[in-house]
Amino acid sequence: MLNAHFKKDLPTFDLEVDISLSNGILALVGPSGAGKTTILQCVAGLQTPSWGEINIHDKAVFSSDHGIDIPIRNRRIGYVFQDYALFPHMTVEKNVMYGKPKKGNIPNKALNVSNVLDMLKIGHLRNRYPNQISGGEKQRVALARALMTEPELLLLDEPLSALDQDTRSTLQQELLKLQTQWKIPFILVTHDVQEAEMLGDQIIKLDRGKQEEIKGIKKLHKAQ
C-alpha cells in the first residue's frame, strides 16, 4: 500500500504528486519530461522530494515534517530501470540473486531463484551474461531481480518501451499475471496511452508536473 503526497521543485516546473494505491497497477502516463521518472525516483529514494510525505504500508519512508528519509536499501521497493541496468559482469543468475535477502521474509512464497527464473521463463539463461540475451529477456531478468528482493511495491520505468510489438504484448500479459500472483502494488511509467489503459487499474496523466486526469478503470480481463 502506498500513500504519497509530495512536491518536488524541478528546474522548469514544480512537480506535484498525490497518489494513493492499495493494490493493482497504477499507470503514470505522459509525454517525455512530464516528471514521470522523477516520481518513481522520489518514491524509491533515488531523489529527495522538496516537501511532503511518502508512506508504504502506513510506514513513513519520507516525511519532510518529521525529518524522515529512509535510505533506498531499506525501503523494500523493487525498481525496474528503463535500460534494465543489469550488471554486465554477472551472469543472469548472479544478477537475480544480487538482492535476495539473507533470510526471506515471506516464506510461503518459496522464493528460490529457480522458481523465479522459471516463472519468468528465463531458467535456461541462468549462466548467460546480459549482453548475450535479447531485450525481452533482459526485461524478464530485471523483473526477476527486482522481485527476488521480496519488495512491497514494484516500480517500473518504461519497462516495455524498447521492445518490439510482439515481445511487448507478451510481456504486458505477463506483467498483469505477475501482479495478480505477487499481490503487491505496481507503479508503471509509460508514454503510451494504450498501454496505460491496458495495464492500469488506475491511470494518472501527467503534464509538466500536474496530475491532469485520474481514471479508475476496472479492467475487463480481471473480472473474467
Binding site: P71, R73, Y79, A85, P88, G99, T149
Partner: protein, 230 residues
C-alpha cells in the same frame, strides 16, 4: 668491470613496494573523488596530480624537507621508531610512490567515473549499502582502468630517477636503482653496464606499453569486460 644485477633487483623491490602503496591509497581516494562532492575537492585533486607536472628535483627537495633529520616527519620517525628515510631504500620507495600515484589515480578515477550510475542505483534499490556497491559494482567494472593504472605506476616507479637521487642518494648495493646505475656507470665510463641496463629498461618499457595497448583492444572486444562502456 663485471656486470652487476643488484640495481635490477633493487629497482624491482622499489617498484613492487611502490605499486602496493600506490594501489592501497589511490583506489579509495579515487573512489571518493569520483563519487562524492565535498569542499576543497579541487584542491585535493590538484595536490594529488601535482607530481605529474613538477620536476622530480622539486619533489625530491620537498621529500627531503619532510623526511630530513629536521623535517616534521623525519623527526617523528627518528624519535618514535629510531629509523630514518633519507639515504635508504624506503626513501626510494616513497619517491617512486609519490611520482607514480597521479598516474594510477587518474586511470582509476576515470574508470570509476565511467561506470554507469544507473547500475550503482540499481544495486542500492536491491538493498546494497555503499560498501557493497563499491566492491561488487564499481570496482569490478573499473577493473580495466585499475590494471592499466597498476602497470603504468609500476613502470613509472621503475624509471624514477631525480627524486630518488635526492632522497635516497646513490649508494651502490643499497639505494642504487637501475636509472641511477645507468647514469653513474656512464659517468664513470662503464658503458657495458650502462648499455645492458638501458636495453633491459627499454625492452621492458616497450613490452608494458605494447601489452597495455593489446590488452586494451582485447578487453573492448571481450563480451564480458566491456560493461563500463555499455
Amino acid at each position: 668491470m663485471e656486470f652487476s644485477f643488484i640495481p635490477i633487483i633493487l629497482s624491482l623491490k622499489v617498484a613492487f613496494a611502490s605499486v602496493i602503496i600506490v594501489a592501497c591509497s589511490s583506489i579509495p581516494i579515487a573512489g571518493l573523488m569520483a563519487k562524492r562532492e565535498f569542499l576543497g575537492k579541487d584542491v585535493v585533486e590538484s595536490i594529488i596530480t601535482l607530481p605529474l607536472v613538477l620536476p622530480p628535483s622539486v619533489i625530491g627537495f620537498m621529500l627531503l624537507v619532510f623526511f630530513g633529520k629536521n623535517g616534521p616527519l623525519g623527526k617523528l620517525l627518528e624519535q618514535w621508531f629510531h629509523t630514518r628515510i633519507v639515504f635508504t631504500l624506503e626513501g626510494a620507495v616513497i619517491a617512486a610512490a609519490v611520482v607514480s600515484l597521479p598516474l594510477m589515480y587518474q586511470s582509476v578515477k576515470v574508470a570509476m567515473e565511467s561506470v554507469d550510475q544507473n547500475l550503482e542505483k540499481a544495486a542500492r534499490t536491491l538493498g546494497a549499502g555503499e560498501l557493497k556497491v563499491f566492491f561488487t559494482i564499481t570496482l569490478p567494472l573499473a577493473w580495466n582502468g585499475i590494471v592499466a593504472g597498476l602497470v603504468l605506476a609500476f613502470a613509472r616507479s621503475l624509471g624514477e630517477f631525480g627524486a630518488t637521487l635526492m632522497i635516497a642518494g646513490n649508494i651502490p648495493g643499497k639505494t642504487q636503482t637501475m636509472p641511477l646505475a645507468i647514469y653513474f656507470a656512464n659517468e664513470s665510463g662503464d658503458t657495458r653496464q650502462a648499455s645492458i641496463l638501458v636495453i633491459i629498461m627499454t625492452v621492458f618499457s616497450f613490452l608494458v606499453i605494447y601489452g597495455l595497448n593489446r590488452w586494451g583492444k582485447g578487453s573492448k572486444r571481450d563480451s564480458r569486460g566491456g560493461g563500463n562502456n555499455a
